[in-house]
């Protein structure tokens, strides 16, 4: 390489000064809710991303030719540490930058990278994923949405669901079936589609905690240019796998493409176990102290795990599927936290006064979404299949649909 990479410490100093001059300080009283996004946040976060881009601090680990900075994971980690006290465009991290952009970098055409990857890094565009379908969750490759080639276009019909933040996105990476006679993995294609189109009906899905960040989409003859195909036709599974790799990495917390750090899943801003214990007057209670100490241990080891597996995967000593271990820890550990919160909040967890005193919203309602941690981003059970089959190399599960033309595979109703 002709130009030497800036040292992490030099970079850290430069970032510290730039952040202080350019980014708004985080208001400690402002609530950052991991589960619900206020509409204004989308506007603000696009602006924040544009600021980062203008200052040369956007997409640190993406190559320069697509608007990134070509720096290392260590630089990104330093930047994240430095930016903790500032407003950051956290909403763009997942899925737009970490998952969709990561995949496009690896699999997209030059033209696609210049348009969508650069767009995402510069804050002009937000990307989302159209993957899951109502017909099946874990069996992603069994999807039914079809794309028919018609001259220079594809015509798409079908239905997608569980698309996080789709309502706020501009484009989606959409996995569709292009060949019904091939076995299920070999008839798929990945196509970039506009999210907002007259041929697409999008609606938000309300979850048990009242949030509605997931969407579902119905496509009726949605026409997109054939140039939007990522990779080659019917090789969509390869492309999708790459995207899923980035998804596991992002969900596990090990993505190089996220910037800034959000409060951990399942907790509202400021409500740590320690604070909760103090507020309910249990901070001297031995059982509570054990719960708090244990959660601190779990949060610590989770961070240590991410660090270790990321090092192992970067150096090539660990297989790519090792990221599934991060994903598993990221289910077990937040769930333990929610259980501990429920325990500590005790009888205050199920009611609140009109003014909001009590722990109904911050603990009780959060608890309703407990299993989200082992469902979102691929179920924990799928991760366990991955670890046993791809890390421990144990025999694969029997599959009734292997090597069978897709149209002959039995489906539920």
């Amino acid at each position: 390489m002709s130009d030497q990479m800036e040292s992490v410490e030099d970079f850290r100093m430069r970032a510290r000064a730039w952040l202080a001059d350019n980014m708004p300080k985080l208001d400690p009283n402002k609530e950052y809710n991991t589960n619900r996004v206020a509409d204004r946040e989308w506007v603000e976060h696009r602006e924040l991303q544009k600021k980062l881009f203008a200052g040369g601090f956007a997409g640190l680990c993406f190559p320069k030719e697509y608007g990134g900075q070509g720096l290392s994971l260590a630089h990104q980690q330093a930047f994240t540490e430095e930016s903790i006290a500032y407003e950051m465009p956290l909403r763009l991290n997942v899925p737009s930058l970490s998952i969709c952009s990561g995949m496009l970098l690896d699999m997209g055409s030059e033209e696609q990278k210049q348009k969508y990857l650069r767009g995402a890094i510069s804050g002009e565009i937000i990307l989302c994923q159209f993957l899951s379908e109502p017909s099946g969750g874990s069996d992603l490759a069994g999807l039914l949405t079809r794309a028919q080639r018609d001259g220079d276009t594809y015509v798409i019909n079908g239905q997608k669901c569980w698309s996080t933040y789709a309502y706020a996105a501009d484009f989606a990476t959409c996995l569709v079936r292009t060949d019904w006679d091939a076995p299920k993995h070999r008839g798929l294609s990945m196509i970039i589609v506009p999210v907002h189109d007259d041929a697409t009906h999008l609606q938000r899905v309300r979850m048990v905690d009242g949030s509605d960040e997931f969407c579902e989409e119905y496509f009726t003859d949605l026409v997109v240019p054939a140039a939007n195909l990522v990779g080659t036709e019917n090789d969509g599974w390869t492309v999708g796998q790459r995207q899923l790799f980035y998804e596991r990495q992002a969900v596990g917390g090990g993505s190089p493409y996220t910037s800034g750090r959000a409060p951990s899943r399942g907790s509202s801003a400021g409500l740590t176990l320690e604070n909760l214990a103090r507020e309910v007057g249990k901070d001297k209670d031995e059982a509570t102290r054990e719960l708090v100490g244990w959660q601190n241990a779990l949060d610590t080891v989770n961070y240590q795990l991410i660090k270790r597996v990321t090092v192992g995967m970067t150096s090539g000593e660990y297989p790519a599927m090792s990221s599934s271990m991060m994903r598993l820890a990221h289910a077990e550990i937040p769930q333990n936290k929610m259980d501990a919160m429920l325990e500590i909040a005790g009888d205050e967890a199920v009611t609140s006064t009109v003014e909001g005193d009590g722990y109904l919203r911050s603990v009780g309602v959060q608890y309703l979404m407990r299993q989200g941690a082992s469902l979102g981003g691929g179920s924990a059970e799928m991760s366990k299949n991955m670890i046993s089959e791809r890390v421990l190399m144990m025999p694969r599960e029997m599959a009734a649909d292997r090597d069978v033309p897709f149209r002959e595979i039995r489906r539920g109703r």
Binding site: R289, E290, L291, G293, M394, P395
Partner: protein, 376 residues
């Protein structure tokens, strides 16, 4: 796993593993256990020649390590000990050495004892527990009464690892000025030891009585003002070594259990093909990865004397103490009835890990300690 080790540390691990496998494979440990357990003196002396008791000793006393990270190297040995349930006083001797080194700045010179320990001829043991007492090293009921230029030590210590063969004990006792640590020779008048039964055959624990044992004032290690600091260092060293050792145990047990799952067939297919079992293996694999990660961080923190070392050691002990025995019991389950037979190796490993888990603070103790350390 050696993700962050230097080349020479990897080499050190390999030579340690090879040495142990040559000298004292698990079958040999079984034979020793049959003959009453404990460790063979010549093994420890040979180990000392390889530097097992020199890694925490400053260079001017003849110690040190090639890598310059003595505690990391020592943890490598501890991990290999765990893999083969090696019987030798690695943790007690090095913990005593850590205490003597830590106390040097504030008290009498104990370099002669350090040299003896380093050579492997002298075994040292930390007499910290008292009968029926829980882990509370700074609150002994044993007393050290000043008598002219001497101290007279009276009290009983329990669960003293290698207490039966130790030549010196590091004893905590109350003085008129607080709590102090004393080096007490095992052959001093008034010292009697009595073997107690131990879960881990490869380790002998003893009850040690000090009936008016007279030692000179220079037997004190550090002084009453530095006792807490010295004990903290020993505590961190002992716990981080236990973590490394438990890690060696579970990595090895998991290896042979995975192999078993491939080899064992029922209903015409290997155990490794059943999803219900595969999922349990995946959980175990993940927990072990976390154990490896957190043990490495704890060891590094002790090695570097990081500010956060106390918490990181307690995090590792709480986690590994909890998960290690859980993983081993799950592995026992995978072996079916065989796993709970005397003939199978599982129990040797379970004995070792359970003993490590219980002593120098249980996981529950460490959880509460974390709560203290984070200011709750």
């Amino acid at each position: 796993m050696d993700l962050e080790l230097s080349e020479e540390q990897k080499l050190f691990r390999n030579t340690t593993a090879k040495f142990l496998d040559d000298k004292i494979p698990v079958e040999k440990v079984r034979e020793l256990n049959k003959a009453g357990g404990g460790f063979p003196a010549e093994l420890w002396e040979q180990g000392a020649e390889l530097g097992w008791a020199a890694l925490l000793v400053p260079e001017d006393l003849g110690g040190g390590s090639i890598s310059g990270n003595g505690f990391q190297d020592l943890a490598i040995v501890a991990e290999e000990f765990g893999r083969l349930v090696t019987p030798a006083p690695l943790i007690p001797v090095n913990t005593v050495i850590a205490g003597l080194v830590e106390g040097a700045a504030t008290g009498a010179d104990h370099s002669e004892t350090i040299e003896g320990l380093m050579s492997g001829e002298l075994v040292g043991a930390w007499a910290a527990y008292e009968p029926k007492g829980h882990w509370d090293p700074l609150n002994p009921s044993t007393t050290a009464a000043k008598n002219g230029g001497n101290y007279v030590i009276t009290g009983v210590k329990d669960r003293v690892e290698a207490g039966d063969v130790a030549g010196v004990f590091l004893v905590s006792a109350k003085t008129e000025n607080g709590v102090a640590l004393f080096m007490v020779p095992a052959d001093a008048a008034g010292v009697t030891t009595e073997l107690v039964d131990s879960l881990d055959f490869t380790r002998h624990h003893a009850l040690v009585r000090f009936d008016g044992v007279t030692v000179p004032a220079e037997a004190m290690v550090g002084n009453e003002n530095s006792t807490a600091e010295i004990v903290e260092r020993m505590f961190l060293v002992a716990n981080a070594l236990q973590c490394a050792e438990m890690n060696g145990v579970i990595n090895r047990v998991f290896e042979f259990t995975v192999q078993w799952a491939f080899d064992r067939y029922s209903f015409g297919r290997p155990l490794a093909s059943y999803q219900a079992l595969k999922h349990r293996f995946s959980d175990m694999r993940t927990w072990i990865e976390i154990c490896n990660a957190t043990a490495d961080e704890a060891v590094k923190a002790v090695n570097n004397r990081s500010q956060d070392a106390s918490r990181l050691v307690s995090v590792a002990k709480a986690y590994i103490g909890t998960k290690s025995v859980q993983v081993i019991q799950d592995c026992v389950q995978m072996h079916g009835g065989l796993g709970v037979t005397w003939e199978h190796d599982c129990h040797l490993y379970l004995r070792r890990a359970t003993t490590d888990r219980q002593l120098f603070g249980t996981p529950a103790d460490h959880k509460r300690r974390i709560a203290d350390l984070i200011g709750l």
